[in-house]
Symmetry: C2
Subunit: 136 residues, 2 copies
DNA sequence: TTCTTAAATTATATTTATTCCAAATTATAG
DNA sequence: CTATAATTTGGAATAAATATAATTTAAGAA
């Protein structure tokens, strides 16, 4: 496992097999899986674990900053193991979410300066992915 | 009621008092209310109506393009009666959502061109609002 | 105006995502 | 090896949202 996902472990953070299995699945995953996706993948591949543990672990990892909780899908939370700031393409047909690691210049509107201090931003691009475009 | 919100009405779309009350609350509202917010506000001000009607109406209006369904809050859907493309500031402390109508130039990353056709985008700015900044 | 009917409202049940709980288990520091 | 705090777990509990089925109603036709 790469360094990136190890950082979740530390004082008072136990290295349990369940957590390792979840982190293992998350490692390098670009599918933006939901809790259920994680549950299904891990129970199939490794060993049974409780749904509650998936939620516990994902919440703990999100708190630790090891994964990012995405609010992109209205129906469920999704998780992104890549915590580098990046943006997303959202296909309006199949709802697939694609990473954009390329740097996207975003202008800072003037109205922000006075009444809001900005730490970061996230751009969602809406459109159709190549697969869905063909189907039209 | 302004033109903007009237457009939801047309063939096969009935002008019921419940819907008018909901539209009336939504008109010019910049609070990005949830279904529950709508329910509370309307039942308090006008007359009792069912929760189901709130959901029905909000879905119908979203379909008709009269309101925009926002996926910004992980816990619940929120609705925006302003359907002009605009962006949002999200306060990481109080979770307040503030509109940005100012034009925000967003660069289009090259990687998109080939595999994705983009129709629009939405920028979320993260930070602290003035009220929360004072409290620090 | 009255009639007709498709559309809308409603209470209630159901589904789905997520959290909470309390008991049993286990990783880790000492 | 032990003690203990953290974790796991099944199941109950919540909460948001949808589905259902019976009743009501807006709006066009007669």
């Amino acid at each position: 496992m790469k360094q990136a996902l190890k950082k979740g472990f530390g004082k008072g953070f136990k290295r349990t097999p369940q957590r390792l299995a979840i982190l293992n699945y998350l490692e390098g995953n670009t599918l933006h899986p939901s809790a259920e996706d994680v549950y299904r993948a891990v129970t199939k591949k490794d060993f049974p674990l409780s749904f509650a543990t998936v939620y516990n672990t994902l919440n703990a990892l999100a708190q630790a900053g090891t994964v990012r909780e995405l609010t992109i899908d209205a129906e469920r939370k999704r998780y992104d193991p890549n915590t580098e700031p990046h943006h997303h393409l959202i296909c309006l047909k199949c709802r697939k979410i694609i990473d954009v690691f390329e740097d996207v210049p975003v202008g800072k509107p003037k109205c922000i300066e006075k009444k809001f201090s900005v730490f970061g931003n996230h751009v969602e691009f809406y459109g159709h992915c190549s697969a869905c475009r063909k189907k039209c």
